[in-house]
Subunit: 209 residues, 2 copies
Amino acid sequence: MYAAAQTSFQQAEHVERTQISGPYLVAPYQAGREIYAEGDLIDKCYQVSTGAVSVYRLLPDGRRQVVSFHLPGEMFGFEAGSNHSFFAEAITETKLAVFGRRHMQERSRELLALALTGMARAQQHLLVIGRQCAVERVAAFLIDLCERQGGGRQLRLPMSRQDIADYLGLTTETVSRVVTKLKGRSVIALRDARTIDIVKPDALRALCN
Amino acid sequence: MYAAAQTSFQQAEHVERTQISGPYLVAPYQAGREIYAEGDLIDKCYQVSTGAVSVYRLLPDGRRQVVSFHLPGEMFGFEAGSNHSFFAEAITETKLAVFGRRHMQERSRELLALALTGMARAQQHLLVIGRQCAVERVAAFLIDLCERQGGGRQLRLPMSRQDIADYLGLTTETVSRVVTKLKGRSVIALRDARTIDIVKPDALRALCN
DNA sequence: GAGAGCACTTGATTTGAATCAAAGTGCCCA
DNA sequence: TGGGCACTTTGATTCAAATCAAGTGCTCTC
């Protein structure tokens, strides 16, 4: 599907300048590489081809809030205004389909649907962070991620405990303790720290509210 | 501006059915009245004319998260999907301009901008709730509200301490204690519980991060 | 295969906000 | 004019999660 997967980001930039819209190129990003920063001009949007992306915001003292993770097939990078308010970075080795400004204008109808689901996700996440305890937050996170990976029983976490903590408004220690507790109750099982088997999906779902 | 301010909601519904789009009618709502509920079909959107509105979500055990407040001039009611995931209710005596489905289709470009700012607001709020302490949350709330009311030094709160608590992920007691503390430091002064003078705007802004 | 460097886990203690409880305060209406 | 009621404030105590502090285990390199 992505014939130009090995194409560099610089070439993608060039094509965009020449106003080609529909077809796009795929740019590779190493784990940890910044995709855009707060303050950068918004002139592209992205679709994850492989890998995973986090979008986050920082406070001056270093506190961080991850507002979203993006998995293969998902789009991100559109925001209100002309400059980014958030940072985006590749969590793992990632390939991104890059769309130019012209493409965004042509597809404003689809963009509306994406913006509305983005708003819904953020608002749902507000409920989780604002009104649920640590166990409920982690359970909701695992279920959400599982569904977005196709709903199977095995779950691969592309992100670290710190990323999860910054997404859920917790600390790594608390995330780790909750995972240990869920493992103790046999709700989940760990193959390794980043690979989770959901042993009792119903029990996990019951923990969300 | 709103010539038909006294028109009933039922008449507004009728006009919508007859496909009149651009001109709209204004419907009055008493304090506490529900505007729409979770599960309701999405077929209108609203602009606050006078008063104030809260949009919130409930957990089965009664915990509540207010995701947004809407003041005069602001629009709300558009969501992803075909049914509402949230409740909306008038906080005070409120008048709403009601727009029908046809109007929304015609103005999808403006709706995109609204959806993007809605997403940005929700994501900014995630940072506040996920990573800031009680004092920072209340300070951020007061500044946000103040700016949306025109940026003067006097601030009128249309909502109760409970509404504020449910918006900030706190309890009424904690909100009250923070307000008392800010009053003690002379950052703010209270004319009454719902009318606040911002005595030291810079000090308040400094508390946000 | 030894050792450095990370990510993750576990334990002890502290702490900020929740909870529980009891007053104020103001407002509506009889 | 005063009683009732909802909202707000204040105080005492508890508790969930943060912080502080070691470990453990894995991977990568030399």
